[in-house]
């Protein structure tokens, strides 16, 4: 179980964290690995801070609980950091992926973070430009597998095509694929 990767998403209700963790888990499992996509539900409203979790491994695991010590934190909405301790329980070498238009160094200063490694991607802008809506979850999935290469970009794109086909117009499928690819390509690291 040594290769178990635990990822905690911080987001707000309505930004698509639930869809993201479930889609990623499906993609990883279909690539014949083990994964879990666990949204943390509640009577949450649109805009309320929420958490969601991903676990990836090449071995079976049976952890049906929240993630308290994440290897990766995904911050889908940076404003959540003002009200939630998004770095709680992280390791010294944990990775933080932040949806923000700032460079990683500035995020470090603002979060007053001493450890970890910061990655940024302007997922909201990518979403606006590709999907025409500020839905950062799709580009964020692309960015995440760049720094956690548990599956290839192609596997993720195939999963999204499979999920969307028949439910959305070809234009929307294409826009989502473009958003994922751009998320994957446009990650900045410290």
């Amino acid at each position: 179980m040594s290769d178990l990767i635990e990822i905690r998403w911080h987001s707000r209700g309505g930004q698509g964290a639930m869809v993201a963790v479930r889609t990623l888990a499906r993609a990883v499992i279909k690539d014949n690995k083990y994964a879990q996509g666990l949204p943390e539900f509640g009577p949450e409203r649109m805009g309320a801070p929420i958490k969601a979790y991903n676990r990836f491994s090449t071995q079976p695991f049976s952890l049906y609980c929240r993630i308290v010590n994440p290897h990766v934190v995904v911050l889908l909405d940076p404003s959540v950091a003002k009200i939630v301790d998004v770095t709680e329980g992280i390791y010294d070498d944990s990775k933080l992926l932040v949806n923000v238009c700032l460079p990683p160094q500035e995020v470090r200063e603002r979060l007053k973070l001493k450890n970890g490694k910061i990655y940024t991607v302007d997922a909201t802008r990518i979403a606006q430009e590709t999907l025409g809506r500020p839905m950062p979850n799709t580009p964020m999935m692309g960015a995440l597998i760049k720094l956690v290469p548990v599956i290839s970009l192609e596997v993720l794109l195939n999963e999204v095509v499979g999920e969307f086909i028949g439910k959305c117009s070809p234009g929307i499928v294409e826009a989502n694929l473009a958003a994922i690819k751009r998320g994957f390509e446009e990650v900045s690291e410290e």
């Binding site: 479930r22 499992i29 279909k30 996509g37 666990l38 949204p39 539900f41 049976s62 049906y64």
Partner: protein, 395 residues
């Protein structure tokens, strides 16, 4: 070839229902079962499941529909949670004592108040005396496997009892995980056609079902029901063995994990068993003889087998996601205590009862680790100071 799938617990139950192909599915949506009810409705609407889907106005009606359909000779299923199960309560003992082989998914959720949509086992544990068979599932795979087996158990001519199959709300019902599915054909052949012993629609062979029984005959009805439920234990194992042949996955009445030489044991139900197993692995590496007993079949209660599995342990904690307010302890605890009383074994462990995880309170590795640490302290002292406690609660 088995199919690799990535599904939520609700998806897995819906997939099993699609393969089981009930003649009638009557359900009312309730969180966290809603996705399941929707998915089955979608299968029917898309024409890939030939089932009479009856969107009832309440759970009282869903079970009433299932009873009627079942007694008319149909394979009938439903699914519910929490208040929904409470609302159909009147019909639960009716279903069982009418010997209708209805199969129901219960997505475990807490009872109000305060209002809570998350996991406790209040609902199904509260229904333990209604005369149903109860199976519990740690994860989506077990929900899928148990649900298919449930139909075979329920419809067996010697049993003819309804079966409740439970999984944890949200923790399992809404989480995507990896599982293996059987081919449709295998499930179809495993279950066969439902052949009712009597059918209300057999006009040439009319029978009366659900008649009035006054003090002169009521007792005999209940005795037969009680005996059928008790003897279903053997049938449940028979079905499990048969299922192992087609699936490669073995099930017992309960899971014994590292129990054979264990000194410290936790008895637990549903998803938290997964966390406990992980803690057992860690403790074993440190040289602590920890073990786990995960309940699968809770009704009928495999008393003698559980006594055998636990009698040589030093200290056992029964962890439960519900309370029996004002009782000696929570449901599984009192059953195990009674089982030891009945068995009169010389050896028996010291036993404590902890309530955990209410209303979805997360139970993690640290929480379970603390319990095993407690059990070691109890063993050192040689006595129990507090046999009943709420874990994780603010004082």
């Amino acid at each position: 070839m088995a199919r690799l799938a990535a599904l939520t617990g609700n998806n897995a139950a819906a997939e099993a229902i699609r393969q089981i192909k009930p003649d009638v599915f009557a359900a009312y949506p309730i969180t966290p079962q809603t996705e399941l009810a929707e998915e089955v409705a979608q299968f029917v609407a898309d024409g890939i499941l030939d089932t009479e889907y009856i969107p009832v106005e309440s759970e009282h009606s869903s079970m009433s529909v299932c009873i009627g359909a079942s007694l008319a000779g149909a394979r009938a299923m439903t699914a519910t949670a929490s208040c929904g199960l409470a609302y159909m309560w009147e019909l639960l003992p009716t279903t069982a004592s009418l010997r209708s082989p209805v199969v129901m998914v219960v997505v475990n959720r807490a009872f109000n108040a305060p209002l809570n949509i998350h996991c406790s086992h209040d609902d199904s544990m509260g229904a333990r005396d209604s005369g149903w068979v109860q199976l519990y599932s740690e994860n989506a795979q077990e929900m899928y496997d148990n649900l298919i087996q449930a139909v075979k158990i329920a419809e067996d001519e010697t049993i003819r009892l309804p079966v409740m199959v439970c999984m944890d709300g949200f923790i399992i019902s809404h989480a995507v995980e990896r599982l293996l599915l059987l081919e449709d054909e295998k499930v179809k052949n495993f279950l066969g056609e439902f052949k009712p012993v009597h059918s209300l629609l057999e006009v040439n062979n009319p029978v009366t079902i659900g008649a009035c029984a006054l003090p002169d005959y009521y007792t005999e009805h209940k005795k037969q029901h009680s005996e059928a439920l008790r003897r279903s234990l053997d049938k449940i194992m028979e079905v499990a063995n048969e299922y192992a042949k087609i699936s490669g996955r073995s099930y017992s009445l309960f899971e014994s994990y590292q129990l054979a030489d264990a000194e410290y044991g936790i008895v637990i139900v549903n998803s938290a068993a997964g966390v406990t197993r992980t803690v057992v692995d860690k403790l074993r590496k440190e040289g602590v003889k920890a073990g786990l007993l995960k309940i699968r079949v809770y009704r009928p209660f495999p008393a003698a087998q559980i006594v055998q599995a636990l009698k040589n342990l030093k200290v056992v904690a029964v962890l439960e996601r519900t309370d029996s307010f004002g009782g000696v302890g929570s449901p599984v605890f009192t059953d195990i205590s009674a089982a030891f009383m009945e068995a009169q074994t010389k050896e028996k462990p010291l036993m404590v009862n902890y309530i955990y995880g209410l209303g979805g309170r997360d139970v993690g590795l640290k929480d379970i680790g603390k319990v095993y640490a407690n059990l070691q302290v109890i063993n050192q002292k040689g006595k129990i100071e507090k046999s009943f406690a709420y874990l994780q609660a603010r004082e």
